[in-house]
Every structure is written in C-alpha cells, then in structure tokens.
C-alpha cells in the first residue's frame, strides 16, 4: 500500500533535483525550468497531504501555486527577452554587472 510518506519522499527527491538544477545552471532559461521542477515537487506534496488527510486545503494551495507559476513565467519570459535584446546572451556569467 502506498502511504503519504512515499509521496512526500518522491516530492523531496524531485525538489532536490530542482535545487540542484538551480545551483548548477548558468543559463537563465534553464534556471526557469529548474524552478518549475521545484514548484511541481511541492504541488505533489500538497496533493498527497490533501488526499491523505481528506482535506481540500492542500489542493487549494496547489491551485494558487500553479497560478503564481503561470504569472512568473509570463513576466519572467518578458524579462528574458528584454535581457537577450540588450546583452545577446542569457548566461549569468555574462550578466554580472554588480560586483561589490
């Protein structure tokens, strides 16, 4: 029988994969992908908890996370395009302009 713990562990693993992507990637577009992975990992956890505790709140949170992810993508991609127009690159190493 699959329990809540199984889902949470899968969620944790996927989240760690996303985290690794965030750390590893230097390309902004790829960074966006990695964040999507992390958001989805969290959604799995919410849905699972919602199911096992018979409570709709978890699903509600998942909905709002999806909404936020969608708007993030919309704005983020706009910014990416502007950046690309300006610098001709999406690599973070090229974009470093605020060295302290």
């Amino acid at each position: 029988m699959i329990g809540l713990t199984h889902y949470l562990i899968v969620s944790a693993l996927i989240f760690s994969i996303g985290l690794m992507g965030v750390l590893r990637r230097r390309n902004l577009l790829m960074l966006f992908f990695a964040t999507e992975v992390m958001l989805n990992a969290v959604n799995i956890a919410f849905a699972a908890i919602s199911h096992y505790y018979n409570d709709l709140t978890g699903q509600m949170f998942a909905f709002f996370i999806i909404a936020i992810a969608a708007s993030e993508v919309a704005v983020g991609l706009g910014i990416l395009i502007v950046l690309y127009k300006k610098y001709g690159s999406l690599d973070l190493d090229d974009l470093a302009s605020m060295k302290g």
């Binding site: 944790a12 760690s16 590893r24 230097r26 992975v37 969608a70 708007s71 395009i81 502007v82 690599d91």
Partner: protein, 187 residues
C-alpha cells in the same frame, strides 16, 4: 495494486525526466522532458483523487506554460548546445544530496497526526470538481480574485516587456536591422 504500479512507474519516470531537464545541455531536450514530467505529475494527481487539479495541471502547465516556453525559445537560439562552466559541481551535488537526505529523513519520520483535523473536508459521493468549486468560491473567493488580478497584471507585463521592438530580429545581426530601420525612417 494498480495504484502501486502506477506510483512507482510515475515516480521513476518523473525523476528520470526531471534529471534530464536539469542535466541536459540542449534546451529543446530539457523542455521536452520537462513537459513530459509535468504530464506524469498530473498522473500523480489523478491517482490521489484530485481530478480537477490534474486537469488544471495539464491545461495550465503542459498547455499554457510549456507553450509559452516554446514560443520564447523561438526568440533564442534553441538548436545550439548551451555552454555553461560549472566551477564547483562537488558543492552542488553535496548541497542537492544533503537537502535530499535531510528532507527524506524529515518526511520519513513518523507523523503524529492526532492533532491534525480537516479544515475543509471532502464529501463522500460528491465529485472532486464540485467540492473544489464550492470551497474555492466560498472560502477562497478573495485569494482567487487576487490571483486573477495578478494573472492579468502578469499578462500585461509580459506583453509590454516582450512586445517592444517586436519587429526586430533578435538572432540576426543587429547592425543590419538598424540599417533597415533607418532606411525605413528615411522613407
């Protein structure tokens, strides 16, 4: 029984696909695997009985978001491999691994659920979509409206940010474009 098979299958596939997303050098591969992973995640939702959430996941993520990404990719050069210098991959794997281990440890710990009570319980014999709708439009009405406004704002922002100088090519030589533009203006 089916549930167990489905769970392990989906888990293995999702993790694999997302690993490709994270590791791949090709944007196209990464994006494709991401889309596939998301479809499989909606599968998790269906197993968990969150039908409506699964459908939303399919429509919003796989439909809208991935479509956005693929459109955005057309602005950039997607066929080229991305060159990234990874300076300290040891640290990255250490951090990722450590977080995974700790999170798993935390989640594997037994849960004392006596104190947890359902705030908005699901009802027997009522469809998931119906249940979600009732809660969303009564208890979560204000956040829902705010989310709607936020999406609108994001849409406008996206259009404005991306829409400037839409008639210019991003990939070709900028100088040539400028020349064309000045000729146009002269006319």
């Amino acid at each position: 029984m089916y549930e167990i098979i489905a769970f392990y299958l989906f888990s293995a596939l999702t993790i694999g696909l997302f690993l490709i997303t994270v590791m791949s050098k090709n944007v196209l591969y990464a994006m494709t695997s991401l889309a596939a992973g998301m479809v499989l995640i909606s599968g998790f939702f269906f197993i968990l009985g969150a039908d409506f959430l699964g459908v939303v996941q399919l429509i919003v993520y796989v439909g809208a978001v991935m479509a956005l990404y693929s459109f955005a990719m057309m602005f950039f050069d997607a066929t080229r491999d991305i060159k990234e210098k990874n300076t300290n991959s040891a640290l990255i794997f250490l951090l990722g691994g450590l977080s995974a281990v700790v999170l798993v440890l935390i989640f594997a710990a037994p849960i004392h659920s006596d104190a947890i009570q359902a705030l908005y319980p699901m009802h027997e014999g009522v469809g998931n979509a119906q249940d979600v709708g009732i809660v969303l439009f009564t208890k979560y009405l204000v956040p829902f409206e705010v989310a709607a406004v936020m999406l609108l704002v994001a849409m406008i922002a996206g259009i404005i940010l991306a829409g400037k100088k839409m008639d210019q090519s991003l990939t070709e030589d900028m100088a040539a474009d400028d020349e064309i533009m000045t000729q146009k203006d002269a006319k």
